[in-house]
Assembly symmetry: C2
Homo-oligomer: 333 residues x 2
Amino acid sequence: MSAAPGEFELIERIRRRVVARGDVVLGIGDDAALLAPPPGRQLVVAMDTLNAGVHFPLGTPAADIGWKALAVNLSDLAAMGAAPAWCTLSLSMPEADARWLDGFLDGFSMLAAMHDIALVGGDTTRGPLSVCVTAHGFVGPGRALRRDGARLGDDVWVSGTPGDAAAGLVLAGIAAAGVDRIEASTEDRDALAFRLARPQPRVALGAALAGVAHSCIDISDGLLADAAHIGRASGAALRIDVDALPASAALARSADTDTRRLLQAAGGDDYELCFTAPASARDAIDAMARECGVPVTRVGDVTAGEGVRPVDAEGRHWQPARTGYQHFAADQR
Amino acid sequence: MSAAPGEFELIERIRRRVVARGDVVLGIGDDAALLAPPPGRQLVVAMDTLNAGVHFPLGTPAADIGWKALAVNLSDLAAMGAAPAWCTLSLSMPEADARWLDGFLDGFSMLAAMHDIALVGGDTTRGPLSVCVTAHGFVGPGRALRRDGARLGDDVWVSGTPGDAAAGLVLAGIAAAGVDRIEASTEDRDALAFRLARPQPRVALGAALAGVAHSCIDISDGLLADAAHIGRASGAALRIDVDALPASAALARSADTDTRRLLQAAGGDDYELCFTAPASARDAIDAMARECGVPVTRVGDVTAGEGVRPVDAEGRHWQPARTGYQHFAADQR
């Protein structure tokens, strides 16, 4: 009988792919993991779930799902300025499929190794395809990047080239940020699809910014929607010049100005960082960004008000059709 | 327009029900939680998911789901001897339903308050009903209750009265442990259903046993299946007298000997503790159990071999139809 693998066999397949860390006293295989936190640091905990048909289309390659499930959580750690340490994984699958699991682990474990994060526990269970990850990291006391720390006069920065992932969605036939169609060459299409499938959590940049930036968030729901969280938490408005947003060559070639603005300002899934910092930190931030190999761009400033104030290159108010993704809003993606 | 609540409104409803703790630097509302671990202790992390139609029948009251989702994770902390501190919650719902959420929180928050565990983050998202919880606790270095610590000659103990939850399942029309039908009075039926719906994680007992018991596991898949995990991890066999298992009055009245043995030895969902300890600790364990208000019973001993050796009152080998629940085994519940 060619039996489907049991739960314990699946767990064993997972265990073989885990990054080793000296601070894991007891990893996968007991009722819970046993871990040795570094003395004198604060623990940062993020948890995000990806559901099939909601966060990724059915038919997405297993390796992309594995990568993204960890990436979105590492991105949350990055947005707090934390250095990753440990994660747990809860995997619900309609049936025990060892080949699918191995593909999933190809993506998950590659990213885990890149960021030295050890998978220490979790569970595998039957159910509609769903991946829940909890990620743990550490930051020095008082150095975490919070949403509520923006100050009047701060610069507003973004990392990387926002809008690419949303363009990738549109090219896959899924409307995003009010855009339902763009044209791209095969090469640009591949580049934008890759940015959607394999977001790069800005872990090193986030850790470098800890204690330097005043506030930070990662761009999951769209730049304006996420920047507005900083604004509201800080009692200020982030003025963002939508024409200052750095566009990738692939996006610049594939979208006209209006479309580019929409995708960059309101498109989600980029997992870049949006942060605010004093003007006095500009040189330090540029140096850190070079060291991390991640471009950063000043795109606005923190002003009086609440939330976010999008403007165009002439300083005129700019209003997108919609400003971000809410999972339960009536007006869905 | 009577709009469905958005994601942020749901999160706000959750935030209002959270237990306050001084070691939570930053709870719900940022990219991740920021927490202050106590110095010199080890961190214990457990993660378990409940899926609708797999771990609970569709139509289960929301409050019972909320209770159980936290209870199964607290039970994992208890099985490690950890004192609970923080948890995160990822809640997938087919639609934003504020009334359902409030019911869920009635169960979840009541149990959280009883065990002083603070909900510090997570996410709410659209998808088939699924609840994933990660629980964090602390234990002194070297004091955690692991599966691999059982020693030859140890007593084997169980807390409470295993078998009640499985009886509750059977009474609800779901076959368990090879039993598909029992008869019970209305009062006994209610008592057994309550044990299934509202398992009591043995947190205080687990914490008291830390540094005293040699090994421990919580009974989620069935006593024999879970005891076998201790046996295999420890390189020994746990000999368990299935006629020494303490039965609740409700179960004793509702099941004949064969049925009772099956439900108690192979039925899951009890979330009692099975642990081993040296004979020299008997008085101390009895005293701890009284202090915690949880009955404990010696049901066997640790012998040479591997896994588990079920015997009856005359010491004869006893073999159940099946020995535990595997989520992906061909032979499902």
